[in-house]
């Protein structure tokens, strides 16, 4: 696996607060990687570090084989669509395309113009008058026409309505298919990413909780439903991700390479959203199995309710 983005014990601190901590990560080239996490989990920090807008406090980060934003060549390799898709309010759509053409050696003007045409954007319109969805599309057009090796999108659809979200992601996917570029995009809404990602990274509390290929993750995670019982009786290869108990029933999410054979469990497949949520509600790995232990005790006060 060639990594388009590789970090080693990467950390970023603001004053006394760590926005990103001990992050070691490899994101494969040629894939669409979704970065999931709650607001404030460190998604933006990681992506801004990758774009070279931030400098790491600890550790290292390498993007497309170089230090982010170290020189114009390196900058040309990475496209970045920042959160809230900033554009110059006073400049027209045409001016933004000119800006891209003047500032990027690999600029693909035909691509930029055809995208803008397809969106029906008026070239003379000021960016400040565009709707949120149109502005996001303009920012995406700028990012794509730069012809980067890696395109990073920080919460590109967060401020868009459902229709604009769908349209944005669809156009992004078409472009990815045409251009063979690697994409990393973040969102706090998993369903946005489900349709488009083939690789996922889950950030919780400034730390990487899960990273892997979506297909593999879905194949190795199962939801087990059955009569109420503790988790200590599970086979050794079944690793509990989350456990929930009601008076009669237990629902577990487990990770295992092998099939689940115990006939008392009803095994169902997980969607990406359920899988990610299971990891998000899981405690940090340095306190392993806390809810599982609580479940084993059968103590009703520690039951996890959603």
């Amino acid at each position: 696996m060639t990594a388009v983005l590789a970090t080693d014990t990467l950390g970023k601190r603001y004053g006394r607060r760590w926005a990103l901590k001990d992050c070691t990560l490899q994101i494969p080239a040629g894939r669409v990687t979704g970065l999931v996490g709650q607001n404030g989990a460190g998604k933006s920090t990681l992506l801004n570090l990758a774009a070279g807008l931030l400098r790491p406090t600890t550790g290292t980060i390498e993007v497309c084989g170089g230090r982010p934003a170290s020189d114009p060549d390196q900058l040309a390799k990475v496209g970045f669509v920042a959160q809230d898709t900033p554009t110059y309010a006073g400049l027209s759509v045409r001016d933004h395309l000119r800006l891209g053409a003047h500032l990027n050696p690999r600029w693909d003007d035909d691509l930029a113009r055809s995208r803008v045409d397809r969106l029906g954007l008026d070239l003379g319109q000021r960016a400040g008058r565009l709707s949120g969805g149109q502005r996001a599309q303009l920012a995406l057009a700028l990012g794509l026409a730069k012809r980067p090796e890696l395109l990073i999108l920080d919460e590109p659809v967060a401020s868009l309505d459902p229709f604009a979200r769908r349209e944005f992601l669809q156009l992004l996917m078409e472009a990815v298919a045409e251009q063979e570029l690697s994409v990393v995009l973040s969102s706090h809404v998993v369903s946005d990413l489900e349709r488009v990602c083939d690789h996922v990274v889950v950030l919780v509390d400034s730390e990487v909780r899960l990273a892997g290929e979506v297909e593999t993750l879905l194949d190795t995670h199962h939801r087990l439903t059955g009569p109420r019982r503790g988790t200590h009786s599970l086979p050794a290869d079944q690793q509990v991700v989350s456990a929930r108990h009601t008076d009669r029933q237990s629902t577990l999410v487990v990770r295992t390479e092998r099939p689940v054979l115990d006939p008392s469990w009803t095994v169902t497949e997980l969607g990406l959203e359920d899988l990610v949520l299971a990891y998000m509600e899981r405690p940090a790995p340095d306190r392993p199995g806390a809810p599982a232990a609580a479940g084993a005790d059968g103590s009703p006060t520690l039951e996890v309710l959603k």
Binding site: A51, L54, P72, T87, L103, A139
Partner: protein, 341 residues
């Protein structure tokens, strides 16, 4: 990058062009009359000035004083701060241009425009005032000579250096404060503070001043001032050239030490409280007193910048401001590279 800098700056440039053109038109219409007056007799030119001429003279001074400050606050301060506030720096800094080049280009375009705008304004105002600036007379019709602090900073090349300094100051404060409005306010405040400090404490020493010992007499006397109790407190004299900028004016006794004036001088010359005695007309009453002062060995020590040092001082101060601007710009680049995100 030059294209983007220019595109973002275009409106400012057009506004400045219109403003400078308007000023130039007013000066071009009123200027030739002054030149005619001066041609008719340089010495009397001040007596023939109309109130409108005097108003225009001061308006020109104020204009050249104010324009660099305004440029610093309105062009400099928002340059980076507005991008940081709107978040557009994240768009600009992720194109294939380094942050350093982005900042240096924007700074250079803005400074160049400031140099042109202030340079043109100063040139127009200096041209208009030239018939008056060049005239040497005792009172100059109460208008300041061009080496005095009031006028020096609005003539020659220094305004251009002030403009560059104001822009760099504004940009730096904008980058540090990250918000345009506070940056504009602080830019104005700091710029004014520097413009007060430099003429008071720095400019007099930019070129080593000349020290001269002047005989106190009616031909050199500038004024006798009384202290609070009605006694003669101090004497001021002037140098041979009326255009000199006098920095200090002290009375020395026979031994060459700084002296307080003798008590008898109050009885001798303390009559009518005239603080400025102009030439021979009112000189008779003090004449014997001054002769007695000289006879007792009193002289006057004057430290001054001679009128012919005007351009030396201009270039020295220009160099000072440009050096300060370069240091500040270096800091601004460092800050933008390492402290902004």
């Amino acid at each position: 990058m030059i294209w983007l800098s220019w595109r973002q700056f275009r409106l400012n440039a057009m506004t400045a062009l219109v403003a400078v053109a308007a000023v130039a038109v007013v000066l071009a219409i009123t200027g030739p009359r002054l030149a005619d007056l001066a041609a008719a007799g340089a010495a009397q030119v001040f007596d023939r000035l109309t109130p409108a001429d005097i108003t225009l003279f001061w308006a020109g001074l104020i204009l050249v004083a104010v324009v660099p400050a305004v440029i610093g606050a309105f062009w400099g301060a928002p340059l980076v701060a507005r991008e940081l506030e709107a978040g557009t720096h994240r768009l600009a800094w992720t194109q294939s241009v380094t942050r350093t080049r982005w900042l240096v280009t924007k700074l250079a375009v803005t400074c160049a425009a400031a140099v042109v705008a202030v340079g043109a304004t100063t040139l127009a105002v200096s041209w208009w005032s030239a018939p008056l600036d060049g005239v040497v007379s005792a009172t100059r019709g109460s208008l300041p000579g061009h080496l005095t602090p009031v006028s020096f900073a609005m003539r020659g090349v220094v305004p251009v250096a002030y403009a560059v300094f104001a822009v760099v100051l504004g940009v730096t404060l904008g980058a540090v404060l990250r918000r345009p409005i506070p940056a504009m306010a602080l830019t104005l405040a700091l710029y004014v503070a520097v413009q007060v400090v430099v003429p008071l404490w720095v400019r007099p020493h930019l070129v080593t001043p000349t020290t001269a010992t002047v005989v106190i007499g009616t031909d050199t006397l500038d004024g006798i001032s009384l202290d609070g109790s009605g006694k003669v407190g101090s004497i001021t004299v002037h140098t041979a050239h009326r255009g000199d900028w006098i920095l200090s004016n002290e009375t020395l006794d026979a031994k060459g030490a700084v002296a307080t004036l003798p008590v008898w001088l109050t009885d001798c010359a303390g009559g009518p409280p005239t603080t400025a005695v102009d030439g021979a007309v009112q000189a008779e009453p003090v004449d014997p007193c001054l002769e007695r002062l000289t006879a007792e060995g009193y002289t006057q020590r004057v430290v001054y910048q001679p009128a012919e040092s005007f351009w030396t001082l201009q270039w020295a101060e220009t160099a000072l401001y440009l050096a300060a601007s370069a240091l500040l710009a270096g800091f601004c680049v460092w800050w933008t590279r390492h402290r902004l995100s």
